[in-house]
């Protein structure tokens, strides 16, 4: 891949908004849901107001909470990713070919995943321990890794079909 800086950022945002969103919508119900309480965010209490304004507990349905977590994770992956792209662009300057082999993009999952795990704690998308033993970790890891690989597969292939401009102008879409 030979990216311009704009191309990199546009590509990441586009892939997250298309492949990322569709895949997250599909996979979330099948992810190992962490027990109640480890999911943060605003309004996380699984309760609902009765019509007399008395809070009543409803049977716990984790799905909406899982969705919030996966979508917020996806959003942060895209957002924090912009900073990553700046770093990659800098590193790219040291390559004579000024390119970015697909393998680099694939393995970037590891450093980006580690940083993202911390970021979702800092932003309270996920509560609980930062340790990898956290009950929320399997969900996070499976979601991120599968989304990442799919985005990557889309990028090395069908992306060119969707936009010829992307193929010829450094990954730029607009």
């Amino acid at each position: 891949m030979t990216f311009s800086l704009r191309g990199r950022i546009q590509t990441r945002l586009f892939l997250a908004a298309t492949v990322g969103v569709i895949w997250t919508a599909i996979i979330t119900p099948f992810l190992p849901s962490p027990p109640m309480g480890s999911i943060g965010g605003v309004g996380m209490v699984p309760m609902q107001m009765s019509k007399f304004m008395v809070p009543i507990a409803v049977p716990y349905n984790p799905i909406p909470f899982d969705y919030r977590m996966t979508f917020e994770t996806l959003g942060l992956m895209a957002l924090v990713g912009i900073a990553w792209e700046l770093l990659y662009h800098l590193l790219q300057q040291f390559r004579w070919d000024k390119d970015w082999p697909p393998l680099f993009t694939l393995v970037a999952l590891v450093p980006e995943g580690i940083v993202l795990w911390y970021v979702i704690h800092l932003t309270h998308v996920e509560n609980g321990t930062w340790a990898l033993t956290s009950s929320g970790f399997p969900m996070f890891a499976i979601h991120l890794a599968t989304t990442w690989v799919l985005m990557w597969l889309f990028m090395v292939g069908p992306m060119k079909v969707v936009s010829l401009k992307w193929r010829f102008e450094g990954g730029e879409l607009v």
Binding site: W96, P101, V162, F168
Partner: protein, 538 residues
Amino acid sequence: MGLNVATTVESGLVADAGGPHAHRHRALEDQALEGGGISAEMAGACVWSDEMVAASGISVRNVPFVTVGGGVASYAMVDALRISGVPASMIAVVGPFPSGYGTLKLLLEASQIDRDQRLRSGSSDRMGSIWGWPGYGLKEAFARRSPATLARLVAEPVLCDYFTPKASALYEDMDAEARRISWQSMFTCGRVPLVRRRDGGGYFIVIVPAEDESLANVQVIQARYVHLGIGFVAAHVLDDMMEYRSSTGDSRRVVNVYEPHEHIYEELARNPGKTVLVRGSASSSLQVIERLVRDRDAHDTGVEIYHLFRNYVEGPKGPPMFRTPGKDGFSYQAFTFTKACYGGQLQRKFRSLGSDDERAELLAAVGSTAVPKRKLWRKQSARGKREGWYKVVVGSASGLELQDNGRVRATVSQEGKPATSLEVDYVIDATGVEVNLRDHEVIADLLDCCGAETNAVGQLAVNDAFEVSGTRNGNGKIFASGVSTLGNPYVIPMYSFWGLQYAALLTCKDLSRDGFCQPLGIRRSVRGWWHRIRNSAP
């Protein structure tokens, strides 16, 4: 001004290589035209009227879009137009070979890349599909059921060399797409000596049909748009070789790598123990050495190889942010240009440069001779050095002489040192060829008669739609792509499949603004791709 592509071009040649009708001397041309139904008055007039042409009795067809050359550049142009919704009946292709790769195949074979050898571009540089996906690599992986090829596509170029397709994959792909877009129905076998402005807009394209060498049956097409994809035809061998040939009459011992030279390999197999000087450190030189070594092993030719480097690269050079990898004499780079020119940040920078001269400078900086880092080549030269049959010589080639003993004395000069000389049996030159724009009949005429201009590197000046500057005529436009548009403001790797396809797309974009074709937006692109996959007409 001639462009010495010696250092910048993985280039092609030469008189015979352009096909039987490609390269003609102009004086000959003038004579021929006079005998061929085009009156002296017409030959002298830069603008032709309909009446003038009608009076000459020459048959005239009206086709809105004509591409001259019929090579890879024409192919890319026509494919893009067809995908953009232009029917085959509105396009004509004129060239010497019925397949788009006719000339390229000759040049590839001369430079030792036969069907089973690999090209020098990547998996997605796919001539038979403007989308480049699925690429040649994926196809090969499935056809051979080879997970290794698949793994390689993931790992390239970090853990292994780039995947590069076999020449046969290119030919098959181009044949398949040609059938799909009805290439044959658009094709006329012939040569175009002239393109003239038409009074009232558009152009007249003069065609000398291939089957009629007598030139009595010249045809004319009236077109709104003309595209010139004439390739390297005006290329010729370097001066010292020209001198050698004209003084000795010998073109058997001293050849350019792009000229057919199978006779050398045959003679080496028959008479073991000969010496060959390979000049130049472009990848074609390594292709030749690969063949010499293969024959050495297979037929015991015992050949000794001298390899002449003008610049022997000891190691990586340049500042950290513009550092060319290099070793053992070579600069390394996967493709003819650095990867970044293929659409990346360098292309962006190139586009933003203000002047032609700045562009020429950047072009020179990124277009220096480099070779892909192939394991086989490195192993071969290491073994040759160890066993003493591969020797490196550093300096510039500066003269060739035929000795009485039938061998060739090649002089090599090096700055600040006395010149040395070598006695060898054969010289294979891979330092490049000279391309002089004016040597090409159509272009010379375009410059003299149609108002075309040249750019800072001496090639045709074009705008960002690849329209040749100064040639517009009413609603008509002349476009060009290929090596003759090197130094254009948009595409750096002008002689690559990628560059030719990109140029074609930029031209199509302009034509869609004229209403001649549909813009290739997301929907049309995806639909077009689906048709290609299903192999149904565009």
